[in-house]
């Protein structure tokens, strides 16, 4: 089941300039992994080597931050959209 993934500008350079791509899988983690297999330049930029979400990245399933759902194990349904955004902070 292909799911649309919206990319921030910093990742588009690894996806031939596309603002949205597709990934297959039944969970957010599987879909992101599928996307990274197609666009290996994103490897390590969203999910860390130990398999957790990078602390400076926010991932949404539709309007919900996946950290408040089941994180990378969050189940995805047909028609859902995943959005990846950088965490923006400073002082």
């Amino acid at each position: 089941m292909p799911v649309e993934i919206r990319l921030p500008s910093i990742l588009r350079v690894h996806a031939d300039g596309k603002s949205t791509v597709e990934g297959n899988g039944s969970t957010v983690g599987e879909i992101l992994e599928d996307m990274v297999n197609v666009y290996p330049g994103m490897d390590g930029q969203i999910v860390t080597a130990d398999g957790s979400l990078h602390k400076f990245v926010n991932v949404y399933l539709n309007d919900d931050d996946i950290r408040y759902l089941s994180n990378l194990d969050t189940l995805v349904s047909d028609g859902d959209t995943i959005s990846i955004l950088p965490a923006v902070a400073g002082g």
């Binding site: 500008s9 910093i10 923006v88 902070a89 002082g91």
Partner: protein, 153 residues
């Protein structure tokens, strides 16, 4: 020197929001058209400001509320614009990137705009931040150099 162009409307909106949010630091996203040449997802002309809640709720730190960022990102896409950078205020210090700003800058091609509120007149500056290096950009507001525009807008 790389240039950032901002409409006078956006400048006025940003400064008003920074003052309104005192004593906390204010923050928000900046958007505009993608550059016609080069990479299609960056540009140098800011025409829209998306104020965001400061999720850090602090006078010394800011975190753009992630949901406000998401909403801005969607609206920008619908309008055919792109996110060009982020703006935040320094409530008591000069408008120069702090060590935290430099350490946490998420995108080397974004514009990092800071509004200093420590002087009688708000002072806006723009920078690029890449690999710990800060470079100030020339800032044009409504066609005027920022130091002139700030006196009349």
């Amino acid at each position: 020197m790389v240039m950032l162009v901002m409409t006078s409307d956006v400048y006025a909106e940003v400064v008003a929001y920074c003052l309104e949010r005192l004593p906390e630091e204010a923050c928000g996203m900046l958007a505009g058209p993608a550059a016609e040449q080069g990479m299609a997802y960056y540009g140098n002309e800011v025409c829209a400001f998306y104020p965001a809640r400061n999720a850090a709720g602090s006078a010394r730190l800011y975190t753009v509320d992630p949901l406000d960022h998401l909403r801005a990102d969607r609206d920008v896409e619908m309008r055919g614009l792109v996110i060009l950078g982020v703006v935040h205020s320094h409530t008591h210090t000069e408008p120069y990137p702090s060590p935290v700003d430099i350490d946490q800058a998420p995108d080397p091609k974004w514009h990092y705009v800071i509004v200093g509120l420590g002087r009688p007149l708000p002072t806006m500056r723009a920078y690029s931040i890449h690999a710990g290096q800060v470079i100030e950009k020339e800032l044009l507001i409504g066609g005027l150099r920022h130091e002139h525009a700030q006196l009349i807008i």
